[in-house]
Every structure is written in C-alpha cells, then in structure tokens.
Amino acid sequence: MPKKVRIPTPLRKFTNNEELVEVNAATIGEAIVELQTRFPGIQERLVDEKGEVRRFVNVYVNEEDIRFLKNKQTPLKDGDEISIIPAIAGG
C-alpha cells in the first residue's frame, strides 16, 4: 500500500506537474531516495551535501513536522500523507 506525497509548486517540473505522487518507502529518508529514482534531480533540492533535509525545506507526515518526529528516520505507514513545503513564510 502506497503513501501519498504532496509536491509543492516549485518541484512539479520534476514530476510532470503531478501534485500528488505515491511512494512505497518505509521512512522519509527512503521516500526521498525513491522520489530521486523516479524523478531524477529532485533529491538535490530537498537535501544538502551532507544528506540532511535543507533548512528551508519543511516536511510533514500527516500534518506533523518531521522535526517533532524522527526527522529522516520518521517511519511511514500505509495511507500516510507527506507534505513538502518550501520556506515556511509568515510572521
């Protein structure tokens, strides 16, 4: 059973403008690798040279910030919804 990933506007050029894509990965880290396999180039936008999620990229699993969970090790279960949101603005 797949998990859904919501792709933000600036990254849709990698996904043929798909807003919602499905992955089978078991963690956020694996999901990023899986996205890279299917949409080459997308990984570099999400993680830095050290492999860490870029500081202005915010990733949520079912509306919860992964920094409150286990960051890249956050486990995924069937039906989870992952949102990638650039540069949280506001304030």
Binding site: R6, P8, T9, P10, R45, R54, R55, F56, V57, N58, Y60, E63, D65, R67, F68, S83, I85, P86, A87, I88, A89, G90, G91
Partner: protein, 418 residues
C-alpha cells in the same frame, strides 16, 4: 523595454544569491531559501540625504527609496513615525542610565508595527495587479491587512488561529474582511496558507509577497536612528516571533551606516521571547546557530510562532552584533505590561510585556550594562489583548454617589496605607 522598478534591482536568494525578477515570489526554486529585495544603493545615496528626509512628511514613507515599491506608495501613506519616548521613570525602575521606548502601540491605523509591513505589501500588491490580499496572522497582521485593504478597496482573506483574543478577532471582522479561524496554532495556519497561496492567485502578504512585506519593518530602525539624533542606539531590544522584525532592524541600521546617514558605532540587537515559545532564545543562550521548533504555550499569542521563518537570521544578527536573547514567563509578561503602564503611561500588548521583562533580565545580568543607553521596541497596543490582564489589575471600587461614602473609602484607604 525594461519595466520600471524604482530603486529595486531584483529579488535575491539569501542562501545562494540567485536572482529573480521582481514578481510575487518568496522562494528560491533551487534551495528553497527566502528571497529578499536587492537595491541600487548608489542611486539611493544620491537622493536620500538627511536634508531630503527632513523635508518630507513625518511618516515611514520619508525613507521611500529604501522601501520596495516601484512608484509612489498608494496604501498607508500616514503610517509610521511613531514617538520615541524618553522613559526616565522606567529607566530608574530597571536601573539603567538611559532608556527609550519606540512606541508602535500608537501606529496608524491599527495600533501595531504591522501597519508598516502591510502598507508596503499592499502598495506593492497593487503595482503587481492583485485585487485580493491575504495573510496568515497571530492577530495584529490580520487587523492591519483587514483595515488597509478596506481603505484601498481590495478584497481581503485573513487566516488566524481560532483561539485568538477577542479584541484581535473583532478588530479584523469590523473592516468586512473574510476572517477564517483555523483550529490549530499559528504554525499550522502558516503551513495551510503556504498551500493555499500555491493554489489561489492572491497576494499573500507574508507568503508570496513576503520579500516586499518584510522590508517595511526596516522603517522602525530608520525612525529610531533619526529620532535618536541620527545615530544607532547602543542597545535595541526587539520582540521575536518569526525573527523578521529583528533581522530587518539590523538591515535598517546597516543601510543607514552604508549610506552615511549615521556614524558607524558599536551597537547590539537583543531578542525577546516568551518562555512558552522560546526556540530562538533557547538556541541563542546555548550558543547554537540553529534552533529546534517548539509547540507554543504562552499568553503572548502575537509571539507564538514555534517554527520561526527567520530564526537562523535572527540568531546570526545577535551573534554579529554581540546581542543576547532572553525569555520571560506569563507572570513576568503581565508584570512587564503593568510596569510600562505605571511608569510611562503606555499600555502595551503582551509582546510589549515580553520586551520590558526581557530588558529587565538583560540589565540585571549585565548583558545590557547599567551605564549604557537602550531602546525597547514596543510593537502593539494593550487594548487588543485585554484577555491577558483581566483579573490581574484589580477592580474599580464601587460606591453610591454619596460624599460620605467616598470620604469613608478614602479614610479607610489612608488607614490601610498608614
């Protein structure tokens, strides 16, 4: 032909320096870093002199060359130039030689510093052809967007946490704005707005219009420097929510130094947070250059941002200027509000209580030396957060309209006070 863009050159990524056209866009598509307005300072230097500034009306727009609009502003022409009050009685209480209050509790039209950023954002939104404006807000911003959109004939959608103070909710509804209460805290409102902004073609002042919007905060620094006798104060204490105001105050001081409007002197910019939402203060005190997001729990709702967008930059400003950060509890916030009111006759909202409380701590710990001079940025009006102090300020004593009863009351009081 190149489109006229005033003194602006481009939008530029703060992380990687890539440049973008001056549209409604806040994100670098390469590394998702925030975009910032770049200016033509050589041209600005020729036009923005002390004499030119002095000849202009006393509003934030007297520094117009440094604010990101292509043409003359069209929204919020009366905003800013709030009083810089010499606070001798509060100085004595806090034990510091000289103290000033930058009093944005009386900003026009909605009594908070947000009137500055909204004036810029809506003027620029009009230039870019938008007819609907929106924002994610902890209250003050929603008030200002609602009011200034009404005066400009723009349609407004404001998104707020549904548990805000009554005063801040009514203050948005009265202007006829579409007020959407989100069942969640500000960071959740913000995330939703980032998604909405990607779908709807609106000018979200603090999402896609954020590069322009945030620049409006610099006007507070310009005014402080000018009102302080064309010099940067030794210490400036700034409340921190997203960290944008603190970051832009530093940018404002730096621009004035660069343009030769003030001498290059040593100064520090300090950050003030509530203990119930203190990701920046905790990181600064631990000597970190990054912060851990938190879930806010504080009466200072206007500062309740657990994932501060400019947190990294705010920490850098404090590092660069040798500034410090502190945080205060809900009780200390109320004490700060009362102290400012009782000594200076200024009724600030909770964020003002945070700033006063933190200033006290920084003075007591020696991070602001007692022989120095400091400016406290008081950014919003207490009438909007009555909920926070009701029940903590006593009650009127009621008597019949009888002189005898009043005399009895006074005599009683003298006995108690004797």
């Amino acid at each position: 032909m190149k489109e006229h863009s005033g003194y602006m050159k481009a939008l530029k990524c703060r992380e990687c320096g890539r440049e973008y056209p001056l549209t409604a866009n806040h994100v670098c598509e390469f590394d998702f870093g925030p975009l910032e307005v770049a200016y033509d300072y050589d041209r600005i230097k020729k036009s923005l002199t002390k004499a030119a500034i002095a000849s202009r009306p006393k509003t934030m727009w007297r520094y117009r060359e440094l604010l990101p609009v292509a043409n003359d502003p069209t929204v919020g022409l009366q905003v800013g130039f709030t009083p810089l009050v010499k606070a001798d009685r509060l100085a004595k209480k806090l034990g510091i030689r000289e103290l000033w209050i930058k009093n944005d509790t009386v900003n026009y039209p909605t009594l908070s510093f947000k009137d500055r950023v909204v004036s810029v954002a809506l003027s620029r939104s009009r230039e870019l052809g938008f007819d609907t404006v929106a924002c994610a807000s902890t209250g003050n911003l929603a008030n200002s967007v609602a009011a200034q959109a009404a005066s400009a004939g723009l349609k407004a959608y404001v998104f707020i946490p549904s548990d805000l103070e009554q005063g801040k909710i009514v203050n948005s509804l009265i202007y006829g704005a579409n007020v959407i209460g989100i069942k969640g805290h500000y960071d959740e409102v913000n995330r939703l707005c980032a998604e909405i902004a990607g779908k709807f073609g609106w000018a979200f002042v603090n999402v896609n219009m954020r590069p322009y919007y945030a620049e409006g905060s610099k006007s507070m620094a310009y005014e402080i420097a000018e009102q302080h006798g064309w010099r940067v104060p030794q210490h400036t204490v700034v409340p921190v929510a997203s960290g944008s105001l603190l970051t832009k105050i530093q940018k404002g001081y730096q621009e004035f130094i660069k343009l030769g409007l003030v001498p290059q002197t040593k100064y520090a910019v300090h950050g003030a947070q509530a203990t119930g939402c203190s990701p920046i203060s905790v990181a600064q005190k631990a000597g970190l250059d990054f912060f851990k997001p938190v879930k806010p729990d504080t009466i200072a709702k206007s500062l309740a941002i657990g994932t501060p967008a400019d947190g990294f930059y705010a920490l850098k400003v404090m590092r660069d200027t040798n500034g410090a950060a502190e945080d205060v509890t809900d009780d200390e916030i109320r004490d700060g509000i009362k102290l400012l009111a009782e000594t200076e006759g200024i009724f600030a909202e909770t964020a003002g209580g945070v700033t006063v409380g933190v200033a006290k701590k920084l003075i007591d710990s020696g991070k602001i030396p007692r022989d120095d001079s400091a400016v406290l940025c008081v950014t919003g009006n207490g009438l909007k957060t009555l909920d926070a102090v009701v029940g903590h300020v006593g009650k009127p004593r009621e008597i019949k309209p009888s002189l005898r009863e009043f005399e009895a009351l006074i005599t009683n009081e003298e006995k108690v006070n004797a």
